[in-house]
């Protein structure tokens, strides 16, 4: 059941992004920025948490879940450490992913060349 909900909600978010690309003047980077900001705001309103409870990875894997994870980490650490936590917590959930992207991105780019 959790696989089905992840497919359904994750797919719906991606389809929404595709419709935005096809019907507006948004370029892909604009669309991605819009989704990450929307995720951060919906998280602050408590809506995205409910979506994560409902759909798990279907809500967390899309880039809107990245925005949610930043808000959530920031808020979680702020409750623990005070105002400093707002900053230390921002990459609480996403820092591992960002480091992975930088480290393995560099290693792979050094080892492989783009196909012409």
């Amino acid at each position: 059941m959790d696989y089905f909900l992840a497919f359904l909600v994750g797919g719906a978010i991606c389809a929404l992004g595709q419709v935005l690309l096809d019907t507006s003047k948004f370029s892909p980077p604009h669309m991605l920025v819009a989704f990450v900001v929307a995720g951060a705001i919906l998280s602050g309103l408590g809506i995205y948490d409910k979506l994560v409870d409902f759909a798990g990875a279907g809500a967390l894997i899309p880039v809107s879940g990245f925005g949610h994870s930043i808000t959530r980490g920031s808020l979680m650490e702020a409750e623990r450490l005070g105002v400093v936590g707002l900053l230390t917590g921002a990459l609480e959930f996403t820092g591992l992913g960002v480091t992975t992207a930088v480290f393995f991105g560099a290693v792979i780019a050094l080892a492989a060349n783009p196909k012409p």
Partner: protein, 155 residues
């Protein structure tokens, strides 16, 4: 020096041309694109759910499983990009490949590979976040601001 009349005529002609061009340029196949994005994006999220379940079955809570799940999916996206495979998924599925976190990894690794020819420091080093950078900048900006507001108005 163009008279106002000639200017108006020119604008009329331009408007006519734009109407003509708009009627000829093919419209993107909305339904086909949305369905493909739905299916491919959904499948990637399903794979993410599988990774998350694997971490949770080893005793992590859902919260604790988020970071390793994102990192694993990023690693998968990075490797598929290195093998020049993600590019094909992206061409086929559009937002279905771009929105999942694997697409984030794809933009980083593809940029690093492409800009390597401009040098290791000013090419690869400086430009690997050319697309993923805005996502990080506005994600952190909005995330921290939203968290600040929530924290100030905590009950």
């Amino acid at each position: 020096m163009a008279s106002p009349g000639a200017k108006k005529q020119k604008a009329d002609e331009r408007a006519k041309y734009q109407r003509l061009a708009a009627s000829i340029v093919p419209k993107p196949p909305l339904v086909r694109n949305a369905v493909v994005a739905f299916v491919v994006g959904g499948l990637i999220c399903m794979a993410g759910q599988g990774v998350m379940n694997a971490f949770m079955s080893r005793g992590l809570s859902q919260d604790q499983a988020i970071a390793p799940t994102l990192a694993t999916m990023i690693l998968i996206g990075a490797v598929l990009t290195g093998l020049s495979a993600y590019h094909h998924i992206g061409e086929f599925a559009g937002a279905g490949a771009a929105i999942p976190i694997t697409g984030f990894a794809n933009t980083v690794v593809a940029a690093a590979m492409d800009f390597k020819r401009e040098g290791y420091v000013l090419g690869m080093g400086a430009k690997m976040f050319i697309i993923a950078g805005p996502v990080l900048v506005y994600g952190i900006l909005s995330g921290v601001l939203v968290a600040l507001v929530r924290w100030l108005y905590r009950g």
